[in-house]
């Protein structure tokens, strides 16, 4: 199982803060994004924004960073400080 978390504006657009995905067929961040985008137009549109950032297990990551069973993946818009 892979836990995916969303934050801020992205969380609000999707209407959900956490999704759990089956790890089968997922080997990198791009696979996570593809799997989520298949959920419908709203998901595909929201996740195609050019400026989204990704983290794996609390560390910044990239589209081709490897993802494995048990990882926590986070997808979020650019940070805007406190």
């Amino acid at each position: 199982m892979i836990v995916v978390r969303f934050f801020a504006a992205l969380r609000e657009v999707l209407g959900v803060d956490t999704v759990s995905l089956d790890a089968d067929g997922i080997s990198c961040v791009d696979d996570v994004l593809s799997s989520l985008s298949a959920r419908g137009d709203e998901w595909r549109d929201a996740l195609s924004a050019a400026n989204l950032l990704v983290a794996i297990n609390h560390a910044h990551a990239h589209a081709d960073s490897p993802v494995q069973d048990g990882d926590e993946v986070a997808i979020f818009p650019p940070v805007t400080g406190g």
Partner: protein, 151 residues
């Protein structure tokens, strides 16, 4: 004395935090500190900020940036207290304090950590008006300021 890193909804007390730093060490001669406050914006009537963060990742990243500051400057103890949730106009948002033998190191490290918190840490800010709200867009001037620190 260990560093203090807190992300919480509750307010902080600057006097109590300062007092903790003072007793830290006889080699401390300087304490630089910073308080960020929810500020009104001239052209529209902001009522509050709502600050969201990524629990776990935020604290881990702040801890890394504090370690970087400790390697770069001769400093003793760092305190970072960042609030989240809904904060009304005039409320405190963030506290950073750095104790050091000399004032130059305390100022530099305090400003370095603040710039990091405003530009790289996993916080998101929403402006709340009387009948609407909107997520703040990333500010290029802040990004430029933080990249000034790159060696």
């Amino acid at each position: 004395m260990p560093h203090l890193i807190i992300v919480a909804e509750a307010d902080f007390n600057p006097a109590d935090l300062l007092e903790q730093l003072h007793v830290a060490s006889p080699s401390v001669g300087a304490v630089a500190s910073f308080v960020g406050v929810v500020r009104g914006v001239a052209d529209h009537s902001i009522e509050a900020l709502y600050i969201e963060h990524y629990p776990g990742m935020t604290e881990a990243e702040i801890s890394r940036i504090v370690d970087q500051a400790t390697q770069r400057w001769d400093i003793e103890t760092v305190q970072v207290y960042h609030r989240v949730g809904r904060l009304a106009l005039g409320e405190r948002i963030v506290w950073v304090a750095v104790s050091a033998p000399h004032r130059g190191d305390s100022f530099a490290a305090c400003e370095f950590i603040m710039d990091y918190l405003k530009t790289r840490a996993t916080f998101w800010k929403k402006e709340c008006f009387q009948e609407s709200e909107r997520w703040v867009e990333q500010c290029q001037s802040d990004l430029d300021k933080a990249s000034d620190w790159q060696p």
